[in-house]
């Protein structure tokens, strides 16, 4: 027996930390890590509500989120390495060719 708000608070803390990381970091790998934190926060919510409502669909959504996150990290790191090879930097504020 676990109180539902406890899981939701945990998820809220993880999500806020992820938001801060995405906004404050300039190293692209650390930005990707912060995105992973936010995805994990969503997964905690999905699993908590799935168990609260006794409905497996939430857990299956969490599994899909994990799979998509794995694909995203693979592509994201490939892009980061490509940028590093071309620009000698992975600071996201220096990669501004497409910035208006």
């Amino acid at each position: 027996m676990i109180r539902l708000p406890l899981a939701l608070f945990f998820s809220a803390i993880l999500f806020s930390a992820g938001v801060y990381g995405v906004l404050a970091r300039r190293n692209a790998v650390l930005v990707l890590m912060s995105i992973e934190l936010m995805l994990n926060a969503v997964n905690v919510n999905l699993v908590a509500f799935a168990q609260r409502l006794r409905d497996l669909n939430g857990q299956i959504f969490a599994l899909f989120v994990i799979a998509v996150a794995a694909a995203e990290v693979g592509i994201g790191l490939a892009i980061v390495i490509l940028i590093y090879r071309n620009r000698e930097t992975i600071n996201v504020d220096e990669v501004n060719l497409l910035k208006w």
Partner: protein, 170 residues
């Protein structure tokens, strides 16, 4: 508070602390290790919520594979050490936004599920077992499952194509 709740609080506290250190640390490799701690604590939380299969998937894919990918990414790029090299100038604004977001979320959660109302998660034993999840997955989500497998294949090929050395003469 029950014993399970105390264990959950401890796991959540360690996970939240590691998440906070992850976004404030000045060494990227330490950041990856803090990410391991956070992900493992989230996996522990899944176990406490009786979602065994998701917990083991979390350990295998996140702690096992994604963190290794991150470490490879750090290894192949130059990772400077220091706050000025890792944080940008918007840190103050970002901190305010993060705190506001946390406050807003906590307010919303309190309003929707008041602590005193005592809404509890009472997981049924075996509700998150591999068998149950697999049956539900392949009964209702076969097409999304295939789509995700195709997405993973596309990501695999895309990552290879992107990070391959370009040997063509210019």
């Amino acid at each position: 508070m029950t014993a399970q709740e105390w264990v959950f609080v401890v796991l959540a506290a360690i996970g939240a602390l590691a998440a906070f250190r992850l976004v404030t640390t000045t060494n990227v490799v330490h950041g990856a290790l803090y990410l391991v701690v956070t992900l493992a604590m989230v996996g522990g939380a899944y176990l406490l919520l009786a979602a065994e299969f998701v917990a083991w998937v979390q350990v295998l894919i996140y702690v096992g594979a994604i963190v290794i990918l991150f470490l490879f990414g750090l290894m192949l790029t130059k990772a400077p050490i220091g706050r000025a090299a890792l944080d940008n100038q918007q840190r103050g604004v970002a901190f305010v936004i993060g705190v506001l977001m946390l406050g807003g979320l906590v307010y919303l959660i309190q309003a929707a599920f008041p602590w005193d109302a005592g809404e509890r998660i009472a997981p049924v034993a075996g509700s998150g077992s591999t068998g149950a999840v697999g049956e539900s997955l392949f009964r209702g989500y076969v097409l999304p499952f295939e789509a995700v497998s195709f997405l993973l294949l596309a990501a695999l090929i895309g990552a290879i194509v992107l990070s391959r050395k370009d040997d063509r003469p210019r």
